[in-house]
């Protein structure tokens, strides 16, 4: 893919020391995001997608060890000094966390939490920052925005809080927004609204976005490219239409199959992926998915497949026996 690369993650490795030994949460991940484009990162819990987002933001836990490079707008965030990094965060690089119940400070008003970001990065006086905060709250669909400024997070519903979190993230017109499972903690009815809001604002502001989720269905209509992660590695990567047209990795197929369909008969048992992800502190010699893969053969258990180019452009997968037929729900 050509274009203006805004973010490129190069060979990023995250190691977490645990009492049971080293845990490799992210294993040599390579990704790019062009300016104004959206990348979906999909995988089940514990696959390293949140650690990857924290690695990009340089917000890993103290004990974690980070390797590789994170090039953002021409600078390597990994080696950037703290002060320059601070000026970048919130200004050009913003984030929306998973749980709006815990990501807003309970003892500060909504207004304070919005205005402090604006005043930190933009040279605004209090009146201008307030005015802009009201505009932002209105833009993310919060009714009576002016009254909200003096309210505390607990006075708002979960969906409203997530809208506030999005308003904070958008406040300084960032170039890249990382949305880390922004809808997982919300009611089902609110989820689509929040996702549509994110997509709309991303289009309107021409910012790039990384949408992290465990739901392939979420990324389907809303992203330009999808990366599927499993056990800390990217196992398949493709432009979204190409991926849904022809997925090659059995794990991607299994993820898709686990989405409930409207047309399936009631009381049908959902096809779950059998087994569990491997213990990340005990690396597997072969393909990490092989113990759960229905296509696995001897080679899959003994050797790790590298990410290889598919015949279609920009499509990569890590599998010795990619699925040849277009994706179909297995019986």
């Amino acid at each position: 893919m050509t274009g203006n690369v805004l973010l490129s993650v190069e060979d990023v490795v995250v190691d977490l020391p645990t009492p049971r030994g080293n845990l490799r949460a992210v294993d040599r991940v390579n990704l790019e995001v062009q300016a104004g484009q959206t990348l979906g990162v999909v995988g089940e819990s514990g696959c390293g997608k949140t650690m990857l987002s924290r690695a990009i933001l340089q917000l890993l836990p103290k004990k974690a060890k980070l390797g590789g490079r994170v090039m953002f707008d021409g600078q390597d965030l990994v080696s950037l000094d703290r002060e320059s990094l601070r000026k970048l965060r919130g200004r050009s690089l913003a984030v929306v966390f998973q749980d709006p119940m815990t990501s807003l400070n309970p003892v500060l008003t909504i207004g304070t939490q919005l205005i402090e970001t604006l005043q930190e990065h933009l040279e605004l006086d209090l009146a201008a920052a307030r005015k802009r905060s009201v505009e932002l709250l209105a833009a993310v669909g919060i009714p009576a925005p002016e009254q909200r400024l003096t309210q505390y997070p607990h006075q708002l519903s979960g969906g409203m809080r997530q809208r506030v979190a999005i308003a904070i993230a958008l406040s300084c017109e960032p170039k890249l927004l990382i949305a880390d499972e922004p809808t997982t903690a919300l009611d089902v009815t609110i989820q689509a609204q929040i996702l549509d809001l994110l997509a709309r604002e991303q289009q309107r502001r021409h910012m790039a976005m990384i949408l992290i989720t465990h739901d392939l269905g979420v990324v389907a209509g809303r992203t330009d490219e999808v990366a599927v992660m499993y056990a800390g590695r990217v196992v398949e990567r493709a432009p979204t239409p190409a991926l849904f047209k022809k997925m090659r990795m059995p794990y991607t197929e299994a993820l898709l199959a686990a989405i409930p369909k409207l047309d399936t008969a009631p009381h049908t048992v959902l096809p779950a992926i059998s087994g569990r992800p491997p213990d990340p502190t005990r690396p597997i010699k072969g393909c990490s998915f092989s113990p759960r893969c229905r296509y696995a053969v001897a080679r899959c258990h003994g050797e790790k497949p590298e990410l290889t180019e598919a015949e279609t452009p920009a499509h990569q997968y890590a599998c010795f026996h990619p699925i040849e037929t277009p994706a179909a729900v297995p019986a």
Binding site: R86, T102, L104, N105, P106, L108, E116, Y152, H154
Partner: protein
């Protein structure tokens, strides 16, 4: 908020009644006879009975309680049979000293404990943190009267920088007053800061792991703002709680410190009343101190509600 205050106020009434009942019972049910104490050597069965009748000691106990309570509610706590001073006069005279002492001590303890807690939490697990945590733990095992002796020995006996005992009212000479107050309040502060530091430190460490701190970092805020506004403000609730828990200890500590440094405060009044067996003063002061303690706890509760918007709005 008004509802909250009203409910707490309503709870105060039975607690204060129970306090008065217990104070009265200590004075009336336990062995020891007021009339006997007053007359001491001159006690004969006749004048003993006469005095008892005068004081109403021959009435049934519940009747005496209500008579006493009635007087107390009208502000009559009794009169010392030794000095002739009323309890209220004696307390009013000495209260400013005790309050000044406790305020200075609490400020001192906060001034030592809070910055240390913040630095330790920000660098938790580091050498400074481990050293200070150990020191605080050790300090918890130093009784107030021990640190008083140490400070007197160091600053009054050896260095002769500060007076060991004595007092001058603030209104007379503020500077001299503060000179006399330095050692007593430092003594009390030394006993209080380890508790403040330990609890605030562990609370701050927990707070610093919250999502909203990560978000504050992701917003590119300055470290000082994250530490003091985003982390310290939620933890300040803990501080208020500790202050509430500590009031009882502080009153006890003040009593010891006043006695050691010869400060004319409530504590010394109480100890003096015990030593001279001035039971009227004793009973009145105990009741007033306990009532004051209950009311201070009530204020701390209110402060808690003011600080935490979740309680103020009736959540949680």
């Amino acid at each position: 908020m008004a509802f909250f205050v009203a409910r707490r106020l309503l709870y105060l009434v039975p607690v204060l009644l129970a306090v008065s009942l217990l104070t009265f019972s200590i004075a009336s049910l336990l062995p020891g006879d007021l009339a006997m104490t007053i007359l001491a050597d001159q006690a004969t069965p006749e004048n003993l009975a006469a005095l008892r009748h005068d004081m109403g000691l021959d009435q049934p106990i519940w009747q005496r309680y209500f008579t006493w309570l009635g007087h107390v509610l009208q502000g009559d706590f009794g009169r010392s049979f030794r000095t002739g001073q009323t309890v209220l006069q004696a307390v009013a005279e000495r209260l400013p000293v005790s309050i000044e002492l406790m305020l200075l001590a609490q400020l001192g303890a906060l001034a030592i404990g809070v910055p240390l807690a913040i630095v330790c939490a920000a660098r938790s697990g580091g050498p400074f943190d481990r050293f200070m945590t150990g020191t605080a733990f050790g300090m918890l095992s130093v009784p107030t009267f021990l640190s008083a002796i140490l400070l007197i020995y160091l600053f009054a006996v050896e260095l002769q920088w500060l007076p060991a005992t004595g007092y001058i009212p603030f209104a007379e000479d503020p500077l001299a007053n503060l000179r006399f107050m330095v050692l007593p309040s430092l003594t009390l502060a030394l006993a209080e800061w380890p508790g403040i530091m330990r609890i605030l430190r562990s609370d701050m460490i927990a707070t610093l792991q919250e999502d909203y701190i990560s978000l504050a970092k992701a917003k590119g805020l300055k470290p000082a703002r994250i530490l003091f506004v985003h982390a310290l403000k939620p933890s300040s609730l803990t501080l208020v709680t500790i202050t509430g828990i500590n009031i009882g200890r502080l009153i006890g500590g003040a009593l010891i410190v006043e006695t050691i440094f010869a400060l004319p405060g409530i504590g010394r009044l109480l100890v003096g009343a015990i030593l001279t067996r001035d039971l009227v003063i004793l009973q009145g002061v105990v009741l007033l101190v306990a009532a004051g303690f209950v009311i201070m706890n009530f204020i701390v509760d209110l402060l808690y509600a003011v600080l935490d918007p979740r309680i103020r709005h009736g959540h949680a």
